[in-house]
Symmetry: C2
């Protein structure tokens, strides 16, 4: 960052900078991909050849979403129920036990922060209120925040059911911030970027190498700010190099 960028810094235009959590601040989707892989290996011997177990699991997840929601517990139930259905009861109990253990490991595993997270939060927090907005399971997300080692940076933590225009509107109102002075940063165009732009806020897309199928968006006709790394956020905002 050159001195020239410091006057009129972007960060001076914001009162609140909010971050998504899963796959923005810490790894999440990797565990699901790994679990799906173990699921297919464990169940494959008990289904006819040619059954696409990954596809079946994803279809079950989509179907179960309105009832069981996002998160590891819902995913674990979808895995176990899908395995039962596809094998018509031929599955040994020990295999179901292993599927349940996979879920339990996911719920218990320590948070793996993505690169640069502590420095980026430390660079921004003297200038703005830093907020965390994540969807998913209440107890799992809360435990991840509390054990992450970065909880002290957040002025507020919001764990929500859906990250849509209505949810952001409520949060922005609660925070008492003008939408134009609110900036959201996350890995999902659908959940972190588009609804915030819709409300007149700012948003930055920091892609992760895997995007959960249900976060994919079709063409949306908006130019969005994309940064390759979280480390680019303070630079883009004009905050002194950290």
């Amino acid at each position: 960052v050159t001195a020239a960028t410091v006057p009129g810094r972007r960060i001076d235009g914001f009162d609140v900078v909010a971050f998504d959590a899963d796959d923005t601040l810490w790894r999440s989707e990797d565990s699901f991909v790994h679990a799906e892989h173990r699921f297919t290996q464990l169940v494959a011997p008990y289904v006819p050849e040619g059954v696409d177990l990954s596809e079946a699991l994803r279809a079950a997840e989509r179907a179960d979403l309105p009832i069981s929601g996002y998160g590891v517990k819902a995913f674990t139930l979808s895995m176990a129920r899908t395995a039962m259905t596809l094998t018509e009861g031929r599955l040994p109990a020990a295999v179901i036990g292993e599927l349940l253990d996979i879920g339990w490991e996911m719920l218990s595993e320590p948070v793996q922060l993505l690169p640069h997270v502590p420095e980026v939060l430390a660079a921004l927090s003297p200038h703005v209120d830093v907020v965390l907005i994540t969807k998913g399971d209440l107890v799992h997300q809360d435990r991840k925040v509390k054990t992450s080692g970065i909880a002290h940076h957040f002025a507020h933590v919001e764990i929500v059911l859906e990250k849509d225009v209505e949810t952001y509107s409520t949060i922005i109102r609660r925070l008492g911030v003008a939408p134009s002075r609110f900036c959201m940063i996350g890995n999902s165009v659908r959940s972190d970027v588009l609804p915030v732009l819709e409300l007149g806020g700012s948003a930055v897309h920091v892609p992760y190498h895997i995007t959960w199928e249900m976060e994919h968006v079709e063409g949306h006709g908006r130019a969005i700010v994309e940064l390759a790394s979280l480390a680019d956020v303070p630079i883009w905002m004009g905050v002194e190099r950290f």
Copy 2:
């Protein structure tokens, strides 16, 4: 209610009246008790005589709470994992399938409102903001609220991880209400009454015929207002008979 009680009505002292949901507005614990009963019947043939399956399940629930939290999904995982552990893999897959189905039925079953709920909410809502504060699973509680037929009465709905002093303090601040003008109504002394009194608010205990073990409290040395039925709430508050 006689005319004499109307001047100086209690309701005029409140801006917000908040209700707990599970076992205050709709049935919840009955389903867990029924599920526990089915669990013991299904698993008993595969464990040595004398194993107390109910006690084992409750111990597992308590142990799992910090990882999997409150709610039906956590309970279902505790049932399935407890059954696996106690039977050392002798359990037929079909039985585990039935345990998973019990959980799914609990997640999907329609809301059963307790008696008088719609009339009580209708009687209070012209006078105060009526709010719902419940803990549990985000998606399940949200779906219960939305399908309950009473959602239109609530000015706010808060689904929280724990109902403790800190949580109520945050909610009361967010609502912009003075604690002295906030009244909480619910079936749990531990979660609905004591933390609110601690903050200088009012609270009414409306007991349910079953209290979840983890909501039990030891002697707390406070005089608390207890009403036998939700229908007594508007009368106690001095609202005209409905």
